[in-house]
Subunit: 331 residues, 2 copies
């Protein structure tokens, strides 16, 4: 099958198909639909990589996430994907497992594949050459990595405030033995939220010793459940736990209840992210909300601005965390 | 940066770097590591798609899954990815949302990107031209899609047996009002497991009317939880529910318990897949095990056989389902 078959079937000129394929001129939505259908029906595949789309680019957006098993990132992916699909682009994504080395490798591989743009959910450290990649034609948006100096457009969060909101909440409820189970995620994120929680103690003139800290780096449900058993064995026992994400919080809730404990009666639990499972957990979860889907669409918006016009200045969109109170903390 | 910089830094000849990049000759692991490092440090990016790796192919494996939010598929992805990484390849994946049209589009886009191979977790219908794609140089392995005639290597399951094992189990426990909550997933899969459950009734000379059926097509936790409320309102009320996957089963368990019901006291719940959350749910889940990680590594094995030697005949690896009994069904 050739491009001529596509044009004939779509009832448009060769030039129009070429405009569509190379992105040299905008085609109407109706024409685009007909061309897309014709390409499907004729099974037309440009047979050399150099003939891929939008000039030398594919109609593809790459996304790197640190944990594809966390619905928070699946939901970000859905946001990016829906925005991309609105342009006829598709999303491919890669799981870096939070490993900066793997992240570097995946960025390179996706750049080699000539993706039309890259959204990178930051790991603990970012490659220093993102600006170079942009210079050679791969627009990049970073999600997170607030504390790093990066010359890209980005979506950021106020982790310090998030930690403070969670801590204020449990202090308001009278808790004075609090555990911060930070992670997984970049050390800077974990640290920023921890500092926020300490700031909430400072606001009330309370001793920092009321807040203990343990790092929850595991990404498997087994590791998260084991953390619950460790918490149950701690002396003094924490009466409230602030978790690094909702998956940790849900695993702790499930394990406590399996062991015959009560949430929040024995221990109050606060998550982070507000994934959709949080509201529908066996004990609905108090958590700090980060609106994942909107984060994804915002990242895509910043990306497409630069893809369509590389002269667009880098921009930043900041999301402000919000406490959502549910049964896991209130009696 | 050029390929010369890479060779200089790695301390190897230009030809060795070229062999590595084009896959024309195997290089030793040590040399490969040095070249990879040099590429990282020099930030070398082949600057035309035609210069991508392994001849005209990228060092990339594409994976299509019908629901990236289901840990069953995340775990398959991990299996494929680990196998790919063993060869220096990376995994990129796409979520088809179970939509055959989106699946066709993504297959085409990944082929355009010159992935080194494609693993496709089947949706309800598969494009008829997979053989053509293989012919133009993209090896393909299909996971599932048992009832379809496909000329590719594949990994298959015995869904009929899976349904039968689940139904036998609840019949053994004395249940005589059973609900089959099939889906999401291909109609053929849902139907095959349903027929298996009916076969379990036949074995004992029991009436098919003991098994009701409802289709659980929703992929969100909200839809899954709403299903639980529907089940609680059914008259006669089922005393056991066989679910299309573990996520449905877990959402039902959580909702029943939130409403003050008991599992398995009021209703026994059986899942499907045995994702790692099943064992660590608030009530550990009886389920039909499909070993996701091994499914992923097996699919990768079949793929690489054909990638390395296109003359390798198509092969099939079948997984036999296995019942795992936990608290959600036994009293």
């Amino acid at each position: 099958m050739t491009i001529k078959d596509v044009a004939a079937l779509a009832g448009v000129s060769l030039g129009t198909v070429s405009n569509y394929l190379n992105g040299t001129r905008t085609v109407s939505p109706d024409t685009r639909t007909r061309i897309e259908r014709a390409i499907e029906v004729t099974r037309y595949v440009p047979n050399r990589a150099v003939r891929t789309l939008r000039g030398n680019r594919t109609h593809t957006v790459g996304l790197l996430v640190p944990d594809a098993g966390n619905p928070f990132f699946t939901e970000i992916a859905r946001g990016v994907e829906d925005a991309a699909r609105g342009r006829g682009d598709v999303l491919v994504y890669c799981d870096t497992a939070g490993d900066p080395e793997r992240q570097s490798l995946y960025i390179r591989r996706l750049a080699e594949m000539r993706v039309g743009g890259l959204v990178i959910s930051a790991t603990a450290s970012m490659p220093p050459d993102l600006g170079d990649l942009e210079a050679v034609g791969t627009p990049i948006v970073v999600v997170g990595g607030e504390e790093m100096a990066l010359s890209t457009s980005r979506v950021t969060f106020d982790h310090h405030l998030g930690g403070k909101l969670a801590m204020r909440h449990v202090l308001d409820l009278g808790h004075r033995q609090v555990l911060y189970a930070g992670g997984p995620g970049g050390e800077l994120v974990v640290q920023a939220r921890y500092q926020g929680a300490l700031a909430a103690l400072d606001e009330r003139g309370l001793d920092h010793a009321l807040l203990h800290r343990v790092d929850a780096t595991g990404r498997s449900v087994r590791e998260r459940s084991e953390l619950a058993d460790e918490i149950m064995a701690m002396r003094p026992r924490p009466t409230a736990v602030l978790c690094g994400n909702d998956l940790i919080a849900i695993a702790i809730v499930n394990t406590l209840i399996r062991r015959g404990w009560s949430v929040p009666g024995d221990i109050a639990i606060v998550g982070y992210d507000d994934i959709s499972d949080a509201q529908l957990a066996v004990v609905p979860l108090t958590t700090v909300r980060q609106p994942a889907y909107e984060i994804g669409t915002s990242a895509a918006k910043l990306l497409f601005e630069r893809a369509d016009d590389p002269a667009t200045p880098h921009r930043e969109i900041s999301f402000v965390p919000e406490l959502v109170v549910r049964e896991s903390s209130r009696d």
